[in-house]
Symmetry: C2
Subunit: 166 residues, 2 copies
DNA sequence: GAGCTTTACTTGCGTCGTCAAGTATTTGTC
DNA sequence: GACAAATACTTGACGACGCAAGTAAAGCTC
C-alpha cells in the first residue's frame, strides 16, 4: 500500500495469473477427492504419513513433519490426533528435548501408506505429469521453487530425507 | 487402483512435485494474509467482488461468479451472504430465469474493490511475477492451463468478461 | 540457581467450507 | 397441460482450520 503508482498486470500476466489461480484452487480438491474416495483420508493426512514413512525409524518431530507436509503446527497437532485415533501414528516425547513430541508411524500406518500410495501416485501422474512434457516438468520445477521461496521462505531442505519407501 | 504395476515418480518428478505442492499450499495463505491484513477480506471474497466489478452492470449469475472465482456454489452462497451483510453485494432474482440469482456489486462494493486492488496486485506481483522471468511467465501460463484443464475440465472461457476496471 | 525469554507444541473458540438434503423454477414428454 | 426430470441455488449439520492464548521444557543471564 505504498504511495507509488500501481503497476497493473499486463494482458499476458492476467491470463497467466488466472490460469495459475485456477490450478491452485482445484488441484488440492482433486487430490483430496481421490484420497477420500479410495482411502478415506485427506491429502494432508496422507502427506504426514508419507513423510513419516520416508524417515529412518519412521519417526519425526512434529515440527519437522509439519514443515515437510506443508502444514502449520496447530493443524498438524489435530491431524495427528485423528491419525492416532485411527491407530496409524503414535506420539511420544523426545528423549533429547522434553519440549518436542515425536510422531511415529505404526505398522498399521505403514500398511495404510503402502496400500494408498499407488492410487495417489497415479492421480498425481494423471493431473500433473501426464499433461506436461518432460521439458515442462523441468520448467515447473524451477518456477514452483522460485515462487515457493517467496511465499514460504523457511522452506524445507533441498533434499528429502532418505526415501526408504514409496 | 487398477491392477497395473505402479509407475513411481522419478527423482526429477519427485522434486518437481515437492516444489509444486509447497507452492500450492502456501500461495493461497500468503494472498489471504495480505488481504486480511490490509482489507479484512479473504482472497475468495475479493475474487467474487473483482469478478463482479469486471462485469457489465456489475452483475452476474451466482454460478458464473462461482466459475470465475473458482468456488463451488455452497461456498459462493455463504460468501455472498457475508458480502451482503457488509453492504458490498446485493442479490436479486434473474428476470430471465426464476431459478437463477443475480449478484450485484453495490457502489460501496465497487469502492472496496478499488481501494483493495492495488495492494492485492502488488502482492501477486511480489510473489508470482517478480521472481519469474518473462519467459517463465509464458511457460507457467501454458503449464497451469494444461493442469487446470485436467483438474477442472469445465473451466471458464479463455477470455475474461469485458475488463471495465481493475 | 532464580527468573526471564524462547521454543515446541496443544487447545478453546469462532469462522469457514463441504456434503447432503431441501426448495423453487424451468424444461421436456406424453 | 400435467408430471417427471433437470437446473440453480440455499441451508442444516458437521468437521476442519486458524488465531491467539495456554502449558511445559530449555536456554540464557546475572
Amino acid at each position: 500500500m505504498a504511495i507509488e503508482e500501481t503497476r497493473w498486470l499486463s494482458g499476458e500476466e492476467q491470463q497467466a495469473w488466472f490460469a495459475l489461480a485456477g490450478m491452485v484452487s482445484w488441484l488440492p480438491d482433486v487430490l483430496d477427492a481421490q484420497l477420500q474416495r479410495e482411502a478415506g483420508i485427506t491429502h494432508f493426512e496422507y502427506s504426514v504419513m508419507a513423510m513419516l514413512s520416508m524417515s529412518p525409524e519412521r519417526t519425526m518431530r512434529m515440527s519437522e513433519v509439519g514443515a515437510l507436509a506443508n502444514g502449520a503446527l496447530p493443524r498438524l497437532s489435530r491431524t495427528v490426533d485423528r491419525l492416532e485415533k485411527r491407530g496409524w501414528v503414535t506420539r511420544r516425547p523426545d528423549p533429547q528435548d522434553g519440549r518436542a513430541t515425536l510422531a511415529v508411524l505404526t505398522d498399521a500406518g505403514w500398511d495404510k501408506v503402502v496400500a494408498t500410495a499407488p492410487g495417489h501416485v497415479a492421480e498425481v501422474r494423471r493431473v500433473v505429469f501426464d499433461p506436461l512434457t518432460k521439458t515442462q516438468v523441468r520448467q515447473l520445477h524451477e518456477i514452483a521453487t522460485r515462487i515457493r521461496r517467496v511465499v514460504h521462505p523457511d522452506g524445507c531442505p533441498p533434499t528429502l530425507p532418505e526415501p526408504s519407501a514409496p
